[in-house]
């Protein structure tokens, strides 16, 4: 069988340990989806609405801040429950990492992860070059549209909300958008949607600029350059400074706002280089003590 990221880790430390964060993440993604689906499918209404705005047990409002901002930019007056919901969401992701939304909640991640997995398995190498900064341009566009047109134009095509809303309220042709994202990720650009274009992810990345939960490359001196973490990571550029920056005096914490805290680097590393930590660099760079204090905070 061909080589794939995490093969060594699975062989040395067991399959379960090499997939721990992946399993937790799938549990989170599917669990959240299941609680949403309990309403329309089984009549058990714990959560109503969708990821754009929801109400939990009639008390906890949650609102997508990006959508609320678009709504307000179009000239609409906000409502207290909507604002409170958006603040709760902002606070949560500001603490656990903005792009935790992407890897632990967003339903499109299931699709793009599948495309990435197939890409590795089928060894599809072709990849058009596309700047990862395009997402910032698109985020600007998303915010400009309601001002320029008075309409929340992005929501007509947003794959994130189309997918989630489709699962709960009826897909229509949204499945075609999902298929387009899948095929684009599979054949055109590696991690093309989530890693290059998605303005929703870009926005959540901004929220998490000061996040407390981070992946630390505390064991970076053990790194044997197997490249598994780079190969599995949806945003591989975020790893390099923390993993290889010791010489330049860069700390071991992955600080890039594009890190999704998916934890796959932790899974696939057979040398236990990475772990989740809460807070800043308490240990001096490169120090691997403090093992007992590793903490997790799944979305």
């Amino acid at each position: 069988m061909q080589d794939y990221p995490g093969k060594t880790a699975a062989a040395e430390q067991g399959w379960l340990k090499a997939h721990k964060w992946l399993l937790l993440r799938r549990g989170s993604q599917l669990g959240i989806l299941a609680v949403f689906l309990l309403g329309p499918m089984a009549g058990i209404w714990i959560l109503t609405g969708n990821l754009s705005a929801s109400m939990t047990l009639d008390v906890l409002p949650l609102t997508d801040p990006l959508l609320l901002v678009q709504s307000m930019l179009s000239g609409a007056r906000p409502v207290v429950s909507g604002v409170v919901g958006a603040l709760i969401v902002l606070l949560f992701y500001a603490l656990v990492g903005g792009r935790v939304f992407c890897s632990w909640v967003c339903p499109v991640n299931l699709v793009t992860d599948l495309a990435a997995w197939l890409r590795r398995r089928l060894q599809i190498q072709t990849s058009a070059r596309l700047s990862r900064n395009l997402r910032w341009w698109l985020l600007g566009l998303v915010l400009l549209m309601p001002i320029a047109t008075g309409v929340m134009a992005w929501e007509y095509v947003n794959p994130v909300s189309l997918t989630h809303r489709g699962l709960l309220f009826g897909m229509g042709w949204a499945w075609a958008v999902v298929a387009a994202v899948f095929l684009y990720d599979l054949f055109v650009v590696r991690r093309g949607w989530c890693g290059h274009l998605c303005p929703v992810g870009a926005f959540y990345g901004l929220i998490g600029v000061k996040a407390l939960v981070r992946v630390h490359a505390n064991g970076r001196e053990r790194c044997d350059d197997c490249m598994d973490c780079f190969n599995i990571c949806p945003e591989p550029q975020v790893i390099k400074p923390a993993l290889k920056g010791q010489g330049q005096g860069i700390g071991p914490v992955i600080r890039d706002i594009n890190c999704t805290n998916c934890g796959r680097c932790i899974d696939v590393c057979s040398k236990d280089v990475f772990r989740f930590r809460i807070g800043g660099e308490r240990a001096s760079p490169g120090h691997q003590a403090d093992r007992g204090r590793q903490r997790v905070a799944p979305g």
């Binding site: 209404w45 609409a76 906000p78 047109t149 008075g150 134009a153 042709w173």
Partner: protein, 281 residues
């Protein structure tokens, strides 16, 4: 960000060219998105918004497409537009013929809305304006055939206000009345119960968006009798009273009473009574 791929420095020229290239590409996407969203924002006339919905142009900016109104509707009449449908994607609507709005007093759909797309200032469901019922087809509505129906009149949640029955002579039978439903635009909320209940295969009364349903009198029109009432008297020289060539002691009232004998009662219905009266005409 002052070095490109392979660490080669990017000069200003390259940087500006790169930015312009991206800006043009993103601009094209924006143009496409803007044009598509304009197309996709038009609401078919058969589709109604929940109570309190902002005017359509504002609604498509304010609504975040969460479906909380759909879930909080106790009668499950609301749907969210799906991609590919003629309704703007993700926005709530109902179709009156399938199920009209039940006009809940506490308006739960509005209370659930996190954005004022359904305006929270709507607190009295009687002020809702989802559309306006119009008796669009006088040819198929059976009331015009002289048949008793009045289902739209009776189902109306504000019975007797939004729809009244106008009794007219039935020229076919010569002796019956036509009970013609007449919609009054001011009290009608456009809930759609009349359209839902219409007994025809295709409803003769339909709820339309108000701008399609209402006519508008030119602003220059003055209705003389209203002007007269407001002013407390005629504003122009009154016409000279018409003189009838009537026998002495008689006059004629246009506005209903007809021939009147001065100092006496109106002419009785039976002419013999008048002829037999002492003194005659």
């Amino acid at each position: 960000m002052n070095s490109g791929k392979n660490g080669k420095p990017i000069d200003r020229r390259q940087f500006i060219a790169g930015v312009m290239k991206t800006a043009c590409g993103v601009g094209m996407i924006g143009l496409g998105l803007g044009l598509y969203s304009r197309q996709a924002s038009s609401l078919p006339a058969a589709v109604l918004r929940p109570p309190g919905a902002l005017p359509e142009a504002d609604f498509n900016g304010a609504c975040i497409r969460c479906g909380l109104c759909v879930r909080d509707c106790p009668y499950d009449i609301l749907h969210l537009g799906r991609l590919g449908q003629a309704v703007p994607t993700g926005t709530p609507y109902f179709i009156a013929r399938e199920a009209g709005c039940e006009m809940c007093e506490d308006i739960p759909c509005v209370a659930a809305c996190p954005t004022n797309a359904l305006d929270h200032e709507l607190t009295d469901i009687g002020d809702a304006d989802m559309g306006l019922a119009v008796l669009v087809d006088h040819e198929s509505c059976i009331a015009f055939q002289g048949l008793r129906c009045e289902v739209c009149f009776n189902i109306c949640p504000i019975r007797g206000e939004a729809i009244t029955l106008d009794m007219q002579h039935n020229p076919r039978s010569g002796k019956h009345a036509l009970f013609i439903p007449v919609v009054h635009s001011q009290p009608c909320t456009g809930c759609g119960k009349c359209e839902e209940a219409c007994i025809l295969d295709e409803a003769a009364i339909k709820v339309l968006p108000r701008h399609l349903a209402k006519g508008k009198l030119g602003a220059h029109y003055r209705l003389g009798w209203e002007q007269k009432r407001a002013a407390g008297g005629a504003l122009v020289t009154p016409d000279a009273e018409h003189r009838y060539n009537l026998p002495e002691g008689m006059h004629y009232d246009h506005a209903g009473r007809g021939l009147i004998e001065d100092g006496g009662a109106p002419i009785p219905a039976d002419p013999l009574d008048t002829l037999n009266r002492k003194g005659g005409l």
